[in-house]
Structure formats: C-alpha cells, structure tokens
C-alpha cells in the first residue's frame, strides 16, 4: 500500500508564510530588562526555589561573566545587548499557577489551539502528553494522571524543583556544566521553566511526551531548561515544537537540554523547530542558541536526536551524545533548512568513551535564497573506546545562486580498533531528476518538493508519525518561492 504521505497542497501552502506569527494579547508579569545578581535572586524568589538552586544560579552567573560569546560559528549578527533583554515574563494568573486545565486562561488555550496543539485531553493529539511553555513559564501539562499511574514524572521544571528536589540536585548540570559555554552559563543563571521527565526503572513510557514552546512577549528572552532521566531499562520518546510571533527585533532563545540514559535505557528526542525566521530581508527572527547534550551513562543505553530545523534567524545548536556505557548508541538525524537570510550552524558531537560504542550521524542541509547553512560535527574516539564505530553521512542541497552550504566535520580517533566513516556531498538540485519528474507530468514545485522530501526522507523516517507530516509541510513552506 501507498504509505507515503501525499504531497502537501502547494496552493494552500504558498498563500501562507509564517503561520504562527500572531501575538496573544494577554496580561504578563514581565521583569524590566537587565541582568545582575538581583535579577537572578528575584527570579529564584518568584519561583520559591530552594537555596541550593539559587546558589547554583549565582555560580553560573559568575562563570558567565568570565566567558566570551563563541565566534567560531559560520554566522554573522550584530552584538547582542544582554542588558536590553527581559529575563522573565509570565502570563498573569492565579498565584500558584493553574492546578488543572479549567484554571488555565482561555486565551492561552486558544493560542495553543491555533498552533495546532490542543491542550484538551480529548482533542486530536490524544496519544501525546503535552507540556505547554508560554514565554517563561509552563502553563499546562496534559495527561498527568495517566502518566502518574505508570510512575512517569512529566511536569514543568518549576514543579519538579518543588516536588523532586533530590532528583534536580542530583542531575541538574551534570551533563551540561554551568560553565560549558557562554549560552549554557547564561541559561543556568536565568532559566525560568521547561520540562522535567523521569522514567522509572523498567518502564516504557505509555505515550509520546511533548513540550510546546511559545515565545509571546516582546523584548524577552526564552531560557528554558529540559532534563530527562531514563532509569535502567526504561524507554521514552519526547518531542518538542517551537514557534514565536513575527516581530521586527531579534529575540534570544538560549535553552539547555540534558538527557541521562542509564543501563539499557533509550531516549528518543525529536525537535521540530519553527521559531520565527525573520522576513525575506533578514529583519527580525529568533536567535536560537541552544545547548543539547545527552549522556549514555549505562551499558547498552541509547540516545537518539532527530531535528527538523526550519525556523530561527540564526541557529547555533549541536545536540550531542557522550557515549560512556559499554555498547551505548548515539544517533543524530537532522534536516536543516535555511532560506532567505537565515543562518544555520548546526550539527552534533559524538564522544566515544566506552568500549563498543557506536554512533550514526545523518545530516541533510538545504540552502536557498541568501541563506548560509553549515554542518559542524565532531566525532571523537577516546583511547578507552575500543571497538567504537561511527558512520556519518552529510549531504547539502543548494537551491539558488546566492546561498552557501558548508561542511565542517572534525574526526579525532585515538583508538586503533575504531572504524569511523564520513561521507559528504554538496550539489544543486539534480537537473536530470527534475527533468525526469517533469517528463512524468509533475509541476516544477511538486517535482522540487518531491526531490527535497526524498533527500530528507531518511531523517523524516525517524520522526514520530504526527511530526513527520508536519515536518514535510514545514519544509514546503520554508522553501516556498526558492525555485523559479
């Protein structure tokens, strides 16, 4: 049977550009711009945090002040004034946040409906539990009861700090140290909310977990933090989606995601990133400077990253795996699309520490318009990683004369029993392929769409079904008008 999703209706897609560019008019509790230790104390107090967390934040802030913004990425942007950003914005609501969906502001529910993420449990995404993060705070988490019955903890980060402080203290910053890099340090100092997941021993999470991030307020940054712990023998699939209103100024998004997989545990982490990319001339858009890293601490554990990056003015992001446990597995599947004036510098790091660890990297970059798209990856095999294996396939597609595609792989092997393979290609969309499809009666747009989707297929195959279709549609919208 024909299981391939049908091509998105292009006429419909062409008429819409950035679908998620609306602003929700809602009362917000927003801190004035600026960052110093008092701001951090204020954030921490407002969230009723324990002392250890405040100390941890302050330590991060002090580290941040000693760090410099990284300059090695193949991206260009005007200097960011970190004192002009507001570090906390929350929709005004009842004091302790909503206890149930009935208490959530209807305007927020409406916002998520418009984004296609209904928070009502009876609604369409019935198989997916959703945590919705609006600016700096989590506004709702669905299916809490059902997950609770399975022993799964899935809640806003702030709730986890209150309810499971020992887990937070044990794992927070244990994968991405506070001083890991400039943006991670900033996030550690000022992070506001995000999602926390804990899957107990031997539990296969009964449903997909999903966090939906939404930036709404102007002049704010979003600094969420996600921590996922998969205990021995457990399994979880987690998805995140991101959107923001269309605004003329750039907004900073500096998130940190930490994953920990213990013995025989599997974490599958999928992202469909569609932050506002700015307009055709490069005005506005999100700066997406994100640190994502997972540690396969246990034997035979597995962490798999899948990302479809179509949004953001600038993407700086390298979801990575540290493969410590013997026989552990790291995967990275990525589609990165850059059109108009977007700049993407994204890839992964696979650090092989343990014996017989293996990793797979499949990266598909598509550049159009005046965009710059870079793959940057590190495969490092330490002397201890006997029998390590890596396979990397990294392809770039060029659509138009003014875009750039770059590949910067670093391969460092210090164990002779390792096998590391890297392959990369860059080419424009194949004239022969295009002609073949036109000869079979397809329109130019359909033909291009078909080829691009084929090009990305090995990555889309890794996405959960609901997201795969969404990703295809996004791809078509992102590349709209890029081939004439």
């Amino acid at each position: 049977m024909n299981t391939a999703p049908t091509a998105p209706d292009l006429d419909e897609l062409v008429s819409q550009k950035y679908r998620h560019g609306f602003v929700t008019d809602i009362d917000s509790d927003t801190l004035p711009p600026g960052l110093d230790e008092d701001v951090i104390r204020l954030i921490s107090r407002r969230k009723n945090e324990p002392q250890f967390l405040l100390d941890w934040r302050l330590k991060a802030f002090r580290l941040w002040q000693t760090l410099r913004e990284p300059t090695w990425a193949h991206v260009r942007y005007a200097p960011i004034d970190y004192q002009a950003i507001s570090y906390y914005s929350a929709p005004k609501s009842k004091k302790d946040g909503p206890k149930s969906l009935e208490e959530v502001d209807p305007k927020l529910l409406e916002t998520y409906d418009k984004l296609g993420v209904p928070l009502h449990e009876r609604a369409r995404l019935a198989g997916v539990a959703v945590d919705a993060v609006f600016d700096s705070v989590s506004v709702a988490t669905t299916f809490k009861e059902r997950l609770h019955a399975a022993g799964v903890i899935f809640c806003p980060f702030s709730d986890a700090v209150r309810d499971y402080p020992h887990l937070i203290e044990q794992y927070l910053g244990s994968v991405v140290l506070q001083g890991d890099n400039f943006y991670a340090a900033l996030n550690s100092a000022v992070f506001t909310d995000g999602s926390f997941v804990y899957i107990p021993k031997g539990v296969r999470c009964p449903m997909e977990l999903s966090t939906y991030f939404r930036i709404n307020a102007a002049n704010t940054g979003q600094f969420e933090r996600t921590l996922i712990i998969a205990d021995e023998g457990s399994h979880v699939s987690y998805l995140e989606g991101c959107t923001a209103p269309m605004r003329d100024e750039n907004q900073l998004h500096a998130a940190v995601v930490e994953l920990v997989a213990l013995d025989h545990a599997t974490i599958k982490y999928s992202t469909v990133q569609n932050w506002y990319p700015g307009d055709e001339n490069g005005v506005g858009g999100i700066y997406n400077f994100v640190t994502k890293r997972g540690e396969c601490r246990g034997r035979q554990s597995k962490i798999s990253w899948t990302q479809v990056e179509t949004g953001s003015a600038i993407t700086w992001k390298y979801p990575s795996c540290v493969l410590i446990g013997e026989g552990s597995v790291g995967e990275f599947y990525s589609v990165a699309v850059a059109n108009h004036r977007q700049q993407a510098d994204t890839g992964t790091k696979m650090i092989h520490v343990g014996a017989n660890t293996s990793s797979t990297i499949v990266s598909k970059g598509i550049s159009a318009g005046h965009a710059e798209n870079s793959y940057r990856g590190l495969v490092k095999v330490l002397p201890s990683a006997h029998g390590a294996r890596n396979y990397t396939q990294c392809d770039s597609l060029l659509m138009g004369p003014d875009c750039g595609a770059h590949t910067f792989p670093y391969v460092e092997v210090k164990n002779p029993s390792a096998v590391v393979e890297h392959e990369a290609t860059t080419s424009r969309i194949g004239e022969d392929q295009l002609f073949y499809l036109l000869q079979r009666g397809l329109s130019q747009e359909d033909a291009v769409n078909m080829i691009v989707n084929g090009f990305c297929k090995s990555v889309f195959n890794e996405l959960p079904m609901e997201f795969a279709v969404e990703a295809q549609n996004l791809l078509a919208v992102s590349l709209e008008g890029s081939v004439g």
Binding site: M1, N2, Q433, Y436, R440, G441, S443, G454
Partner: protein, 260 residues
C-alpha cells in the same frame, strides 16, 4: 480528447534542426507518425537518435535551430516538458534516472493523477490506483517490492527498463517514445518489455521505438522503419528494411548518394 481515429496525425516533424552544445546534431529531420502506427528509428551511433527523443520530451539543453514539431495539431516545442507529459507524450529513458528516497509508487500515482487532471478525469483514490498498478505489474512480471523502493534506486539495468515500461502502461500515453529500451536486456526481459509495449498498441495511439538493433523488432513489429543518420532520416521502409540493415549494416546506406 479521446476522439483520435486511426490514421490521424499524432506527430508531425518538419525540417527539424537542432544543436547540442554548439554542435549541429539534427539537420532537417522529417517524420510523420499517425494513430495506430509503430515506427522504429534506427541508425548508427551518434546519428542523433537520442537527441530526437530528448527534444520530443522537452529537454532544455538542446537548441532548436529551425523546423517544427506538431503534436495533435499543437506546437509541441512550445510546451513545457510536464505539459507534454500530461498531454500524453511519454519518453522511456535510455538511462532512467535514480532518485534516492523518492518512492516509486508515489511517483507513479502523482504522474497518473497529473495526467488525469489534464484529461478532466477524477483523481484516483488509493484503492483504484493500486488495482491498476497491480494489474500492470503482473503484466510486467514485477514484484510488488519494486513499489516500495526509491525510483530506480539500486535497480539493475533490466529492472530500470521494466520500470519505465510499467510507468508507460499505467500512464497510457498517446505517443510513446522509447529510447533504446532494449539495450541491456536479456531475452526474457526483452519479451516482458515487448509485451508491455504491445499491450499499449491501439488505434488511437502511436509508438516510436528508437533502437540500435533489429532484435526488438521481432517482438514489437513496426509498421515503418526509418534510418536516421547524419541528423536526417535518410531511408524509410517497412520492417524488411530492418532485416536488411541487420545483414548489411549501415555503411551501404551512408555511401549511397540517393539520400533525399
């Protein structure tokens, strides 16, 4: 659309001249193909056979320097490749292109529905479509696993050619131009391919076979045989001409000064 009668002119090429990369390949070619006919175009290597097929399908890297090609009364050369395809011109490629990651069956369905839209017909739903495809695959002795593979991806030479003919039988073109479809086929595959082509023969359609060898014509018996050499049709006849070519080669024709 469906009012083509046996004997109507489907393709009319007049004094066609074309360059490839600055080189003069077609030098005034004339050919008339009518409904119900099968034409074989033979000729030595480099005579311009593939150029002719590619031009009929609308490949962009050929410069038309003069003459005309009319398809069902329309200026064929003015149509975009996909418009030609939707109007029923099918090219069986000499070297079918591999398109990794693009599902074979997906392409087939998209192509068929594009053709049907042009004909003012309803698009087929998945069940109707699969029923047609299964029937044609049986005819082509193809395994269903073909459908799930990428377009021509990792296919052997014979599989690619079979896949071309499968597409043709599903799309049911008015004019099928088959470019060296027989090359690289063993005898069993040749029979299967011929069955596919013969199944398409009807009073309201025409087939142009571009081939180097006579052996295909034992299975698909042509009404006319043309010799293309030096960018022109230098001799036309019935299938006995093909047999003679097989015996005598092309040299005797090239030496004769009688080329018209």
């Amino acid at each position: 659309m469906n009012s083509i009668q046996r004997g109507d002119v489907i393709l009319d090429i007049r004094d066609l001249k074309a360059d490839v990369a600055g080189r003069n390949i077609l030098k005034g070619l004339n050919l008339t193909v009518r409904a119900g006919e099968v034409h074989a175009i033979m000729g030595p290597n480099g005579a311009g056979k593939s150029t002719l097929s590619q031009i009929l399908a609308g490949r962009a890297d050929y410069d038309i320097k003069g003459g005309s090609a009319t398809y069902l009364g329309e200026d064929l050369l003015a149509l975009a490749p996909e418009e030609r395809a939707r109007r029923g011109v099918f090219l069986g490629f000499q070297y079918p292109v591999e398109i990794p990651g693009v599902n074979n069956v997906y392409l087939l369905k998209a192509a068929l529905n594009a053709r049907r839209r042009q004909q003012g017909l309803q698009e087929l739903d998945a069940f109707e479509f699969m029923a047609i495809v299964r029937e044609k695959m049986k005819l082509m002795k193809m395994d269903e696993s073909f459908l799930k593979r990428g377009v021509n991806e990792g296919f052997s030479g014979g599989e690619k050619k079979r896949n071309e003919i499968l597409q043709m039988t599903v799309l049911e073109p008015v004019l099928a131009v088959l470019d060296e479809t027989d090359s690289g086929l063993d005898i069993d595959a040749l029979k299967v391919v011929s069955t596919g082509v013969n199944s398409l023969r009807r009073d309201d359609r025409a087939v142009v076979l571009v081939t180097h060898y006579q052996r295909l014509l034992e299975h698909i018996v042509p009404d006319f045989v043309h010799v293309l050499a030096g960018g022109r049709i230098i001799r036309s006849g019935d299938r006995t001409l093909a047999l003679e070519l097989e015996k005598r080669g092309y040299d005797w024709l090239l030496e004769e000064p009688t080329a018209a």
